[in-house]
């Protein structure tokens, strides 16, 4: 396909307008809410409009935009159809979330900060997906991390701060991994354009891939890097949770997509690229996806906090996306099915997960309850919320007629095709696990729906609820999107996702089955029926016997097993050394003091007064600092038994430690220099 090149500054405006709006809104006083809301509304509307305006160009080729003299490499935007799909989802969900914020946030504090950073993050995420080279991508990725941090800790209570700091440190580690990867890449290729370059990477390809995967995997919430996600997403305000879960984690998926399907591809025909390496990386990514999918679903089943179920569900759904990508990678040029499936699922997940968070947010806004055990019977109180929630939940569960069905079918079919083509037993196992995870997805949504909307209304919550028009509008739009996509699954597939697969160079033979894919034929429907039956088989006995209330033991938590002890170990390794050193120092000083005191006792009567004052001062200073007194005593014994010398003559206090150090270093350097030189 010949792609035409357009030069346009619209991508730049789409990124910059929200950022500039955000900064200027910050200077308005707290009280002027109308200006603030209008600013956010129009900025997000502008971005949405700008992205839609780019649509016709996308169908024919690329849009370039280059801003030289900015940062080191210049700012470079390149929008192709894949970026456009992400950008459209981002702006759409953002637009709806901004509207939802108007009613949800009206009772919250610190709105100036919230709205400014909300709209700032929009610009940053759009920058991530528009970026045309890895340096621009990295810059916007980092900006996105830091501005979304403010959204995570909006509540500022203890829980939010803890979740926020975990998020921040994980994100910084991810950012540094990205920077390292980009540096290595630059060292190998000498440029940072997004072009296939597997041959050039040589033997550094493994470390580059690993570092990129860590960097983007943290954001995407892939196991075992997901630990921040179930903590950070629930504590944010609901519109922000919707954005974090619906949009922000997709930035990680976008990065993985750009790396694995563009960078780690052979450049051009007849290249000597290492297909075994590509296969292995894809196969491992698929298994990470499968594990993420299953573990996320299991963890979601065991939660009772509604938002936390949704957060774990996001992890699980990211597993689907990673599985699809993995299949697309290891199938090489034949992987169009897996790729379109996972791109489709990215779109679907953005819609229904943002919708679900908004709906749970509405429930929270009205009842101030997030725990399922204290909710129930909301179907009678809020029929519209119930209906839209049901539609979105059916979407995520993959029921035919709702949007999740199409993407899950594609991913599942890609697994089946991979198995029949390659005949690897592992893929067969993965396909089985896929079915189980899908069944578990249905289970936890049944549990969630049952817990919140069915059953008895608790006495405390038994009054009339009314909801603002804007919140209703948002929920209805989300539900409508789920339904429209679900009822006409081929529409988006042929309009957006197949062209997306075409620019990545998948072969025509693998693209062919996707045109007019029969979603509503008996074969995919039958597989879905199996999943639903399996879900019933799991749900019935499990809910009757209360298996869902089981709390997993701490040794199963990755955070407790790996991420907490590791830094502790490293830090304690350093600090224990310093502590011993410090205590030993204090000990030496104390000896000298004691010796001095002893000597001073023999001096004449005249000097008693100043001496005892000095002595007392020393003693009190010693005792006030004396947390480690007992340990000091032990150390004293320890040191005496090890290094015995006459302390009256030879203490560290009457030798100048600093100057000794200098002489010591000089000696060492002299030694090195002479031993090398001669």
């Amino acid at each position: 396909m010949d792609s035409v090149l357009f030069i346009s500054y619209v991508p730049l405006y789409v990124v910059l307008v929200p950022i500039i709006t955000s900064i200027s809104l910050y200077f308005f006083p707290e009280s002027q809410m109308l200006v603030r809301k209008a600013g956010c509304f129009f900025a997000s509307l502008f971005s949405l409009g700008g992205v839609i305006w780019l649509m016709p160009y996308m169908l024919e080729g690329y849009v370039y935009c280059y801003l030289i003299e900015f940062m080191q490499f210049g700012l470079f935007f390149k929008v192709d159809i894949i970026s456009w799909v992400f950008a459209f989802l981002i702006t759409l969900v953002y637009f709806l979330s901004v509207i939802f914020s108007f009613s949800y946030m009206s009772f919250e504090h610190n709105l100036r900060r919230y709205y400014s950073f909300l709209i700032f993050t929009l610009g940053a995420i759009l920058g991530v997906v528009f970026a045309g080279d890895y340096f621009s991508l990295f810059i916007f990725f980092e900006i996105m991390t830091f501005s979304s941090f403010v959204l995570v800790i909006h509540k500022q209570d203890r829980e939010a701060m803890q979740a926020g700091s975990l998020y921040l440190y994980m994100a910084i580690i991810g950012g540094l991994a990205l920077l390292f990867a980009i540096l290595l890449l630059y060292g190998c290729t000498g440029h940072l354009d997004m072009v296939p370059a597997l041959e050039v990477l040589g033997n550094q390809r493994f470390s580059i891939l690993l570092l990129f995967m860590i960097g983007f995997g943290i954001k995407a919430g892939l196991i075992p890097l997901h630990i921040w996600l179930p903590l950070a997403h629930p504590v944010a305000p609901s519109p922000a949770s919707a954005l974090l879960s619906g949009i922000m984690i997709k930035a990680g998926a976008y990065g993985i997509l750009r790396i694995s399907l563009i960078l780690f591809r052979p450049a051009g025909e007849g290249s000597t690229a290492d297909w075994a390496f590509i296969f292995n990386s894809g196969y491992i990514l698929m298994w990470i996806g499968i594990i993420t999918m299953l573990a996320g679903a299991l963890m979601a089943l065991l939660q009772s906090n509604t938002k936390r179920i949704l957060a774990y569900s996001s992890i699980s759904q990211m597993g689907y996306i990673a599985t699809g990508l993995g299949v697309a990678i290891f199938m090489g040029l034949e992987g169009a099915m897996g790729f379109t499936g996972s791109l489709y699922h990215i779109a679907n997940h953005a819609i229904f997960k943002a919708g679900l968070f908004s709906m749970i947010g509405v429930v929270y806004m009205l009842t101030h309850e997030l725990d399922m055990s204290r909710l129930g019977g909301m179907a009678r109180k809020m029929p519209l919320v119930t209906l839209t929630f049901l539609i979105a939940a059916l979407g995520i569960a993959g029921i035919p007629g709702f949007n999740g069905f199409a993407s899950k079918t594609l991913i599942h079919d890609s697994l089946l095709i991979a198995h029949s083509d390659l005949g690897i037993y592992g893929i067969f196992v993965a396909e089985r696990v896929f079915v189980i995870a899908s069944a578990l997805t249905i289970c936890y949504f049944v549990k969630l729906f049952h817990g919140v909307f069915l059953g008895q209304v608790p006495e405390k919550l038994d009054h009339k609820y009314s909801l603002s028009l804007s919140a209703n509008f948002v929920m209805v739009v989300f539900a409508a999107l789920v339904l429209i996509t679900g009822l006409f699954p081929n529409l988006l597939l042929e309009l957006l996702f197949i062209p997306g697969a075409q620019i990545l160079g998948f072969s025509d033979s693998s693209l062919q089955p996707l045109f007019g894919f029969g979603f509503f034929e008996w074969y995919p429907l039958r597989k879905m029926l199996v999943v639903i039956l399996l879900a019933l088989l799991i749900y019935m006995p499990a809910s009757a016997r209360g298996w869902f209330d089981w709390t997993p033991p701490p040794w199963l938590s990755i955070q407790k097993v790996v991420f907490k002890p590791l830094p502790q170990l490293i830090l304690s390794f350093f600090f224990r050394g310093f502590n011993i050193n410090d205590m030993a120092m204090g000990q030496f000083y104390e000896h000298t003091d004691n010796d001095n005191n002893k000597r001073e006792d023999y001096l004449g009567e005249l000097e008693i007064f100043p001496d005892s004052a000095h002595d007392e001062a020393g003693q009190s200073a010693y005792y006030t600092s004396g947390k480690g007194l007992n340990r000091d005593r032990q150390l004293k014994q320890h040191f005496r038994s090890f290094f015995w010398w006459d302390q009256d003559q030879w203490t560290i206090k009457n030798l100048n430690f600093d100057n000794l150090l200098l002489v010591f270093v000089l000696g060492v350097i002299l030694f090195i220099v002479f031993s090398y030189g001669s």
Partner: protein, 492 residues
């Protein structure tokens, strides 16, 4: 035209002159003393910019003091790197002085202010001299002037901690200069010259004939400059000295004084020593590992500090490590990064010390623990602190990222990815101790618990300038990088 030829000497003359004049001015025309200092710093800066423009046009050129050519007279030399150092020194010290005018009134007794100006001008003059001089003995004299006046601007506060710290600094830096003098003597012994270029000319032969002399001299130079610039195991004087000094002095010492010695080591390694000496003995290797250890341990020590200024001081130990890393990596790209970091760190660390100074001025608080919620009452100060910290961590949009980028690229180019790991790991460590302060300052639920004075505008304006400078250096880094790349080509 006649006057412009004498600009290199005039810069030093103006600064030394104002240092002698300011106590007199302070005694008789008190109001004029501070503006006179600012004016002379500004004049010197203008001349330095003129020199930079001149050297971009005509290349490297020399100035002979009193018209005496090198073997007898003192030679001042100007090339791109030296002009760059000169401008960094003069611009940053002018900027700090603007801030200092208000802060010093609070921290010092009124009658010593005139003397403070003297010492300040002396420190700046000696640093400018070190950037310009082309003579080893001259360098030694300027190092002594710098050390003693730096000691005095620490101890001028006259409390116990300052006196103790400055005494420690005095002793250690005297040891350092002693090492330097011994090294110079050894070089003089084998070459018979003091001028950099002449020494460089005779050294290749001398190294063949008297290798031991040069080995000892190189070790002595490393220890001398290492002590002065707080290279890792020799940093012991720095935390006390920088933390207890008045805030403008801390900004000056952490921002500039330790850098100029790193520059001195660079000159010794790449202008004086012949290439064969660097290749035959692992001098760069020593610098590399000491600086990496400094980068890591400086950050780790900083993490456990409770005093804000002490934390900043320990952080300086880590940050000077980057500059030394650039020197030790022996690669144009890495060195560009190191020199860029020299500028960026001069600005950001000075700014952070200024922020600490504002906090102490308005609230009297030094403990990190007590800073919760301070962002609500001192917003501009804490935003400046945030931008400075962001630059320390290397967040995109700040100068810190650019210097780390170049250092890391240089490390990769010579095939030592381990140093990239160290650079990135230290970024993480920086984040670990800077982030909690910022997060607590802005996001804490409780109100700030202490009384707050109003911040004078004179203190805020330098902070705002600093913020703009850091972001500018992060976004439009190209001109400075090109200048450094051109300048460093002279040395390779």
């Amino acid at each position: 035209m006649g006057l412009t030829n004498h600009f290199p000497a005039l810069i030093l003359a103006i600064l030394l002159g104002i240092s002698f004049l300011s106590p007199i001015l302070f005694r008789w025309v008190r109001k004029a003393s501070a503006p006179a200092l600012l004016l002379s710093l500004f004049l010197a800066l203008v001349m330095a910019v003129y020199l930079l423009i001149q050297t971009t046009q005509v290349g490297e050129f020399s100035y002979y003091m009193g018209g005496w050519p090198p073997p007898w007279g003192i030679e001042l030399k100007i090339n791109l790197i030296r002009a760059y150092m000169l401008i960094v020194v003069l611009a940053v010290s002018l900027w700090i002085m603007v801030y200092a005018l208000k802060d010093l009134e609070h921290e010092l007794k009124t009658d010593v202010l005139g003397w403070y100006y003297t010492l300040y001008a002396l420190v700046v003059a000696s640093m400018a001299g070190m950037a310009l001089t082309n003579d080893l003995f001259n360098l030694f004299v300027l190092m002594e002037i710098c050390a003693i006046s730096a000691c005095a601007i620490i101890s001028i506060k006259e409390d116990r901690a300052c006196l103790e710290a400055s005494f420690k600094y005095l002793i250690l830096s005297a040891m350092g200069t002693g090492c330097f003098l011994l090294g110079v003597a050894m070089v003089y012994m084998v070459t018979g010259h003091m001028n950099y270029d002449l020494v460089n000319e005779y050294l290749p032969v001398a190294v063949e004939q008297y290798p031991n002399n040069m080995f000892a001299a190189s070790a002595l130079f490393i220890v001398a400059f290492g002590t002065k610039a707080a290279l890792f195991p020799l940093h012991v004087w720095l935390p006390d000295a920088h933390a207890s000094a008045p805030s403008p002095s801390s900004a000056m010492l952490s921002g500039l004084v330790i850098k100029i010695y790193a520059f001195g080591l660079f000159i010794v390694f790449y202008q004086i020593f012949p290439r064969s000496l660097l290749d035959s003995i692992p001098l760069n290797e020593i610098i590399l590992w000491l600086s990496s250890m400094g980068i890591m341990f400086g950050s780790i020590f900083a993490m456990v500090q409770v005093d804000l200024k002490k934390m900043l001081a320990y952080s300086s130990i880590g940050q000077i490590g980057y500059v030394f890393l650039g020197i030790g990596l022996d690669d144009t790209i890495a060195m560009t990064g190191g020199f860029y970091h020299l500028l960026v760190h001069a600005i950001m660390k000075s700014m952070l010390f200024m922020c600490a100074g504002v906090i102490i001025y308005t609230t009297g608080i030094r403990q990190i623990k007590q800073l919760g919620g301070i962002g609500q009452v001192l917003p501009i100060t804490m935003i400046a602190f945030t931008i400075g910290s962001a630059s320390m961590i290397g967040i995109p949009g700040t100068g810190g990222l650019i210097s780390k980028w170049y250092l890391a690229l240089g490390a990769l180019e010579i095939g030592r990815p381990i140093f990239v790991v160290i650079i990135l790991a230290s970024s993480l460590l920086n984040a670990i101790y800077y982030m909690p302060i910022i997060v607590n300052a802005f996001m804490q639920q409780e109100e700030f618990a202490y009384e707050v004075k109003a911040v004078p505008r004179q203190m805020l304006i330098p902070l705002i300038i600093g913020m703009i400078a850091i972001v500018f250096l992060g976004v439009f880094s190209r001109p400075v990088i090109v200048l450094l790349e051109n300048g460093l080509q002279l040395f390779f």
